[in-house]
């Protein structure tokens, strides 16, 4: 049984105060250079929620604009106002910080998140009005505490402050007095990841049009670790988020692999469904506070707004073949092996051409490639270049080398087979998967036949290996309903019945004669 992509959800959360307080570029600067010009300048470069809404790449992420429409807009984009500034899109939504802090409290099952009672009173109705929030989630939000108590917790109990417009409105308490794995900082980071994953899960389940109880398994592929001093990365974000999202029939597990994890998780989900182990699996990931404002120094130096002010999240629903939705082809998997090597040519060969060669396909037989989809508006001013374009150039160079395209057509390749990046630099979030929502639509509409999703991960950052990693998979147009091996298809059954009826009619006619 093949597995298909039934739907996807993409969400963003605008978190300007977390840029200041929780992004590692800023927290590091506060330690090593507390009086720096950067820290003084930074607040004046933060965007308002309205500015974040009218930012082109954000509207693409939630599905109100397409990658093609974005590529027609001249870069840079930070000084352009998108003609759509809706909070909700067909794939998900952009949530403001105030509502998200309440959602974080709802996702906390250990009474660690404390919010100012006035803040709760001011914003609870807004969250309740969110169509994705049901009574169960809202019932988990308490009335809050006095602001003075929050100030005391932050100053005396090592709690991590929650701020809104630079005002202390809440805190996350530590979950243990000594264990650094349960410190207020870690609990804050993990609760942000969990809450944004919950929002993504709710969006994906709604978009797929399935009942919450149909979900049997959830795979979380974010980059955080939850556990205590005896099992630092014990997990499990997946089941924790599924609980709050109300996926009562689901269990789950966490898949980790830096930015490559979403592609690994998608392959695992497809395999679990294809094997018959589960009928419906959801791959999900919340966002990462540490990466907020990661390239902020360059952005501030160049007079740009802080563009890394969005927490990202996504979820994809994978189900058994319904004869309609695009299939994940498990025969076309690429993988960077231990022995592959780290040269860019070797990397792209292992991820792109090796699986195509096994199937007798050319590079140009894939209509669209989705590698690292980082927004170049963020990376170019920081000196990291246009990451998607760099990937496309390498794939195109291989295509030239293999004689599949002319050298003169090298720069046409990114236009014809590529996409312009739109995803926030949230590590795993931009890694191939932002395109799945659009790809599903275009494959359903018959505009495309095959797309390849490529995930790459910087394993060396964990200092356990010097190796790089990556995997790829192909999503293709549905080839029709199927039956168990050895059985007959619906078409064959129809044909057999028609043949039998014709023969029966012929017999009757013969008898009449």
């Amino acid at each position: 049984m093949k597995s298909v992509i039934k739907g996807a959800g993409y969400i963003l959360v605008h978190t300007p105060d977390m840029v200041l307080r929780n992004g590692t570029t800023q927290t590091t600067e506060r330690i090593v250079n507390p009086d720096s010009e950067y820290l003084k300048e930074l607040p004046s470069h933060l965007r308002s929620f309205e500015q974040a809404l009218s930012y082109w790449p954000n509207q693409v992420y939630i599905g109100n604009k397409t990658p093609d429409e974005l590529s027609a807009v001249e870069q840079p984009w930070h000084d352009k106002v998108c003609d759509v500034n809706a909070r909700n899109g067909k794939f998900g939504q952009i949530m403001p910080q105030e509502e998200f802090l309440l959602l974080m409290q709802s996702c906390d099952v250990f009474d660690l998140v404390k919010l100012d009672k006035d803040f709760v009173a001011a914003h609870k109705a807004a969250l309740a009005a969110n169509p994705l929030m049901d009574e169960t989630i809202m019932a988990r939000i308490n009335d809050g505490v006095d602001g003075a108590e929050i100030a005391r917790l932050v100053s005396e109990e090592h709690s991590e402050g929650l701020y809104d417009h630079d005002k202390l409105v809440g805190c996350v308490n530590r979950a243990h007095d000594i264990d650094v794995n349960l410190s207020a900082h870690v609990m804050h980071e993990n609760l942000v990841s969990k809450a944004s994953s919950v929002l993504a899960l709710l969006s994906a389940v709604k978009n797929a049009g399935i009942d919450k109880n149909e979900v049997e398994y959830v795979i979380d592929c974010a980059e955080e670790a939850c556990g205590d001093m005896n099992q630092r990365g014990g997990g499990n974000f997946a089941k924790s988020a599924a609980e709050i999202a109300g996926l009562m029939s689901a269990t789950g597990s966490d898949c980790r692999g830096f930015c490559a994890a979403p592609a690994h998780a998608m392959i695992e989900a497809a395999a679990l469904v294809a094997s018959g182990a589960y009928q419906t699996v959801v791959v999900t990931a919340g966002g990462c506070t540490a990466k907020l404002g990661m390239n902020g120094k360059d952005h501030v130096k160049k007079g740009l707004p802080i563009l890394e002010d969005m927490i990202g999240g996504f979820a994809v629903v994978v189900t058994r073949n319904d004869g309609v939705n695009p299939e994940i082809n498990l025969d076309l998997l690429g993988r960077h092996c231990v022995g592959t090597g780290s040269a860019p040519q070797a990397v792209i060969s292992s991820l792109v051409t090796a699986p195509l060669d096994r199937a007798g396909l050319k590079i140009t037989d894939i209509d669209k490639y989705s590698p690292e989809m980082q927004n170049p508006d963020i990376t170019k001013p920081a000196g990291a270049g246009d990451v998607p374009l760099a990937n496309y150039k390498m794939i195109a160079a291989l295509a030239v080398k293999r004689g599949e395209i002319e050298k003169a057509d090298l720069m046409k390749f990114p236009v014809e087979h590529g996409l312009t990046g739109w995803a926030p630099t949230q590590g795993h979030i931009p890694s191939g998967v932002p395109y799945i929502g659009f790809a599903r639509e275009d494959l359903l509409a018959g505009k495309l036949n095959r797309v390849m999703i490529v995930g790459k991960g910087s394993l060396f950052l964990g200092r356990m290996t010097n190796l790089f990693d990556g995997v790829s998979f192909v999503i293709q147009k549905n080839s029709g309903e199927e039956t168990a091996a050895g059985g007959v298809s619906e078409e064959q059954v129809k044909s057999l019945i028609a043949k039998a009826m014709k023969e029966f009619a012929a017999t009757l006619l013969a008898q009449t004669d």
Binding site: S342, P344, A384, G385, G427, K456, L461, N466, F468
Partner: protein, 43 residues
């Protein structure tokens, strides 16, 4: 030998560009002494 012969070299590779290990191999083959090599991720 090239301009790197006998030189001490510090290498910072880019995950999405040329990784440190690949630059290291080139630098060594050109006669350089690699005193530090790392690959970083900027996204």
């Amino acid at each position: 030998m090239g301009i790197l012969a006998g030189k001490k070299v510090v290498i910072i590779g880019d995950r999405d560009g040329i990784p440190g290990q690949a630059i290291e191999a080139c630098a060594k083959s050109a006669g350089a002494e690699v005193v530090f090599s790392s690959t970083e991720c900027f996204v």
